[in-house]
């Protein structure tokens, strides 16, 4: 077990080990939801909260249910069931209390079940053997890292709309290249702190 502090893990998840730009998790939502700033921010907040909370819940489930019962081979099934149940609950709560946000997020709310960020954060949580406090830092850090890169990409895409790119590069191609430069920039942070 590594002894890195939770705050350090939070910042490492934001910059050096950004879940999106170094592990490629959550790409599909990232490409679809960054056409405008508002949806990037809205989904970013939702993903940060869901990732943070489900990673904690999965930590509890992994160490108090799965390992004592010897069900390690079914870990993924437990994790995805927990995430799906939590997303369903979150959907119902948001629908009840803020219809505006519910409609703004639309189909991406139920699709959060298949967001790789949330599942990936849970898997890294047990392969890297974090303690509970570290898990809290990691879960919220991973979600916030997703939000950070989503907000950055959304603002870059706004600029891209006014640029005269070659026709064949327009759309997904240019976004990929932009993402490549973002990943290159984030590589500059590596070496500050290692949490692998």
């Amino acid at each position: 077990m590594n002894e890195t502090g939770a705050v350090l893990i939070f910042f490492a998840a934001l910059f050096t080990n950004n879940i999106l730009l170094s592990n490629f998790l959550g790409m599909c939502h990232w490409l679809a939801c960054t056409r405008n700033m508002m949806s990037a921010v809205g989904l970013g907040i939702a993903i940060t909260l869901v990732t943070g909370i489900t990673t904690m819940l999965n930590f509890v489930m992994y160490h108090f249910v799965i390992v004592p019962l010897g069900l390690e081979s079914l870990t993924f099934l437990f994790f995805i069931a927990m995430i799906a149940a939590f997303v369903q609950l979150a959907e119902m709560v948001i629908e009840r209390f803020s219809l505006k946000l519910y409609h703004a997020l639309g189909v991406f709310l139920p699709l959060m079940v298949v967001n790789c960020t949330i599942m990936g954060a849970a898997i890294f949580m047990y392969t890297r053997e974090y303690s509970f406090v570290q898990t809290v830092g990691w879960g919220f850090g991973a979600g916030a890292g997703w939000m950070l890169s989503a907000v950055l990409l959304a603002s870059l895409r706004k600029k891209l709309q006014y640029s005269h790119a070659p026709v064949i590069f327009r759309g997904a191609g240019l976004v990929m290249i932009t993402a490549g430069f973002m990943a290159l920039t984030f590589m500059g942070f590596s070496g500050m702190v290692a949490i692998e």
Partner: protein, 221 residues
């Protein structure tokens, strides 16, 4: 021709197993509506595992099996699943196949399982799987859904293998671990790191767009 006519007269209810609809679904998944180039789904694994050709082949073949079986099974149970929990059911079906794949990789090919790491498990949350089950198999018959799954799985695997080959050659100067053009080509490490993945996929998308535009011009003439 006449034999098939006779057969269709004898049994009007029985349709040929591979009809035009199935063929269209297959080619749609493989080419026109390719999972990565046209639908832009399932990018996570496409970028993460393709730093080596070997990993891309394992991932491509494994995902092909999982996707075709899941679309098939989801299509079988499509009428008995309540509408509200259908996404949950689909994810659980996929999850079962991924667990079987993960366990068999661990049992028979430990090295490959070790290299792919968490990305085998992340097939569960690959949006392409849900895109196909939710968008296609939930409304179509099992055979058609299976063909659709096979077409999309093949289309995905081919792109993964091309990406893996390009990145391994540019990044380490090897293909499947064998050095190619040693001494002539100086490998550029950036292509096996994260930014290189984005650059190569971006250029591949642009390249297929260019090919498609050529095809459209040809069709116009």
């Amino acid at each position: 021709m006449s034999a098939s006519n006779a057969a269709s007269i004898a049994a009007p209810a029985a349709k040929p197993l591979i009809g035009p609809k199935e063929k269209a679904a297959f080619w749609d998944g493989l080419l026109n509506n390719n999972p990565i180039f046209a639908q832009v789904l399932g990018i996570c694994s496409a970028l993460a595992v393709t730093s080596k050709l070997e990993n891309s082949i394992i991932m491509g073949v494994g995902y092909f099996v999982v996707l075709s079986l899941s679309t098939w099974v989801v299509s079988f149970i499509r009428e008995s699943v309540p509408h509200r929990i259908r996404i949950l059911v689909q994810v659980l079906v996929v999850c079962i196949f991924v667990i079987v794949l993960d366990q068999s990789l661990k049992a028979f090919y430990w090295q490959g399982s070790k290299q792919l790491g968490p990305y085998v498990a992340l097939m569960i949350t690959n949006t392409l799987t849900l895109g196909r089950t939710e968008g296609f198999s939930i409304q179509n018959k099992p055979t058609l859904a299976l063909v659709d799954g096979i077409g999309n799985g093949l289309g995905y695997a081919v792109v993964l293998i091309v990406l893996g080959a390009v990145r391994e050659f540019l990044g380490s100067g090897t293909l499947l671990g064998t050095p190619i053009l040693a001494g002539i080509y100086q490998p550029n490490q950036i292509f096996i790191l994260a930014p290189g993945a984005f650059f190569v996929l971006g250029c591949l998308i642009a390249f297929t767009n260019w090919l498609m535009s050529l095809g459209k011009k040809g069709a116009k003439k």
